[in-house]
């Protein structure tokens, strides 16, 4: 590629950006209006999608931006769920429970991060999986306010189900917008520069003056706080949590697939990944009741082969090649 071509490409990318943000704005407005026109079933699907947007953005912070592959990041979903659940059983209001979801999850990551984030590559990945599995046993053993193996029933809301589910939908929507805003701001501030530097060369980052362990611990705390929020709202939404559902390793794995499909380290990749995967999986499930796992798996493999850098990157390249075609014509 010639030098002028690269510069032109960079300026063209800058002109596309406002259009993307306008599209995002319209998308948020549509989502705001959505509860008016859709069935209870689709409201539930969309709430799940938005929940996964939050979890995947949380994963994006540690995996996509920092390059630390936290396979077991779903552990903070469970921590958030239990923090909110236990607080509400103890008599606190839902709002206080949610604040605790964020704080307790972030604090767990902050404390665990100092030792665990010194591990690199697959060692770190396996350590997070171990955390996820250990958490199930720990909750079962603690018992008491966590309910142990019997699970935990949250106090029921005195709202009617319909407005309650709509309110929870808006809460997830707010969380999805907020987590995307967090990633956007993070990428522009010094911490974000440090994290991206760590992802590409941790050694060079350290030599350039970045306290890499501290930066990684901050990143994981932010990641855990976002994930914990989603867990807290989820707990109140389904009203009964147990260790194997709150700490289900499949939550982290699913978010991981969404991140890969959408595009790691990008702002909108996790949003697109969550929508595509959750809605496609719902459609496949309703269309192919017996073979849905198989068909879903094949779809994921195909997307990974066609767009290994994710949908965001693939569509950017598509726009680029269409433009090049127009320029030549």
């Amino acid at each position: 590629m010639s030098e002028t071509a690269i510069v032109q490409q960079a300026t063209k990318a800058a002109t596309v950006r406002p259009l993307v943000w306008i599209a995002v704005g319209i998308g948020v407005l549509v989502l705001c209006a959505a509860p008016i026109g859709i069935s209870a079933y689709w409201l539930r699907v969309l709430t799940t999608v938005l929940m996964y947007v939050i979890v995947t953005q949380g994963l994006n912070v540690i995996v996509g931006i920092t390059g630390y592959h936290a396979f077991g990041n779903g552990v903070f979903f469970g921590v958030g769920a239990y923090a909110c659940g236990a607080a509400m059983v103890a008599g606190m209001p839902f709002a206080a429970g949610l604040v605790l979801s964020i704080l307790v999850s972030a604090a767990c990551a902050f404390i665990l991060g100092w030792p665990i984030l010194r591990l690199k590559g697959h060692y770190f990945a396996i350590a997070t999986v171990a955390l996820n599995l250990a958490a199930i046993q720990i909750i079962i053993q603690i018992g008491g306010i966590t309910g142990g193996a019997q699970g935990l029933a949250l106090p029921l809301s005195d709202w009617d189900p319909k407005p309650l589910y709509i309110a929870l939908y808006y809460l997830m929507l707010a969380g999805a917008v907020a987590s995307t805003a967090v990633v956007t701001i993070l990428l522009r501030c010094p911490l974000g520069f440090a994290l991206r530097a760590i992802r590409d060369s941790e050694r060079a980052a350290a030599v350039m003056g970045i306290n890499t362990t501290k930066a990684k611990v901050y990143a994981w705390s932010i990641s855990a706080g976002l994930t914990g929020f989603a867990g807290g709202v989820w707990a109140y939404w389904i009203t009964f949590i147990e260790p194997s559902s709150a700490f289900d390793p499949a939550i982290g794995v699913k978010a991981y697939i969404m991140l890969i499909i959408g595009g790691m380290g990008s702002i909108l990749g996790p949003v697109i990944g969550a929508f595509v995967i959750e809605i496609v999986s719902t459609l496949v499930w309703s269309g192919f009741l017996h073979a849905h796992q198989l068909i879903f798996g094949v779809l994921i493999v195909v997307v990974c082969l066609v767009a290994p850098q994710g949908i965001i990157d693939a569509s950017a390249q598509l726009v680029r090649s269409i433009r090049r075609g127009n320029g030549a014509a």
Binding site: I6, A10, P190, F193, R196, D200, A204, A206, G209
Partner: protein, 250 residues
């Protein structure tokens, strides 16, 4: 008092003494060259100074402060910057963003958007890379990637700059440009340590040079004296050549 003092620096890799009791002083304002055959321990020395490796013995003082085995980022904030022989650009960040990291952290610690952008562009102008500021590192030639390494280090506004074979792999014109760049940087008052195989660059630039061989310090002096010393010629070209050369000189 010297800006950097190394005393008895020792590093072991298993049973191998990669660095064996190396002592040296780098005065402020100097260009200090470290030369030696392949495997002599030059890059190991640089990794020791920049706190990438931990010392097994000895101590380092920078600006009269003990910096033995401090973390890399602490050393960098005190004002030591380095480049890597095998370039380590942040591949998913543009050239400008790479350099911004240096300005945000390092010795400069600029946190205002205007300040770090200016510092980055200043460093890129200096190294002649400003026209490619929006490129991704993967689109750069090796010569430009070496310039990127230097730009990032400059944006950190260091007091001591460690250059690890920035000339290696460059053609003659590019070497001339790099020599000119190092000279300019030094003229502005920055102390420089260079590790170099390109003798021409060492002779043109260095005020003092230290020769390493098998991890030990062989000699130190002005570059011209050092390269004419029989022990140095022997280390590079073998004992027989050193003998014939000594014979013909006599």
């Amino acid at each position: 008092m010297a800006l950097l003092e190394g005393r008895g620096l020792t590093i072991k890799f298993g049973g191998v003494l990669a660095l064996d009791d190396v002592t040296f002083d780098v005065e402020a304002g100097q260009i200090f060259g470290v030369i030696g055959p392949n495997g002599a321990g030059k890059t190991t020395l640089l990794n020791a100074i920049s706190a990438v490796y931990r010392l097994d013995g000895g101590n380092i003082r920078f600006d009269d402060q003990d910096v033995t085995n401090v973390p890399s980022h602490t050393l960098s904030s005190l004002g030591v910057a380095r480049t890597f022989q095998v370039v380590q650009p942040f591949n998913h960040m543009s050239v400008r963003e790479n350099v911004i990291v240096g300005a945000m952290y390092g010795h400069a610690r600029l946190r205002q958007r205007g300040e770090y952008l200016d510092a980055a562009d200043e460093a890129l102008t200096r190294t002649g890379l400003i026209a490619k500021a929006d490129f991704m590192p993967l689109h750069l030639t090796l010569s430009d990637r070496k310039r990127l390494e230097v730009s990032r280090a400059l944006a950190m506004k260091p007091r001591l700059l460690l250059l690890d074979e920035v000339m290696a792999g460059l053609n003659l014109t590019e070497i001339e440009r790099m020599i000119e760049l190092v000279r300019e940087i030094n003229a502005d008052g920055m102390t420089v340590i260079i590790i170099e195989h390109v003798m021409k660059a060492v002779l043109a630039l260095c005020h003092r040079a230290m020769v390493l061989n098998f991890g030990r310090k062989l000699t130190e002096g002005t570059p011209h004296d050092v390269v004419n010393e029989p022990a140095v010629i022997e280390a590079y070209l073998g004992a027989r050549f050193a003998k014939t050369r000594a014979g013909s000189a006599a």
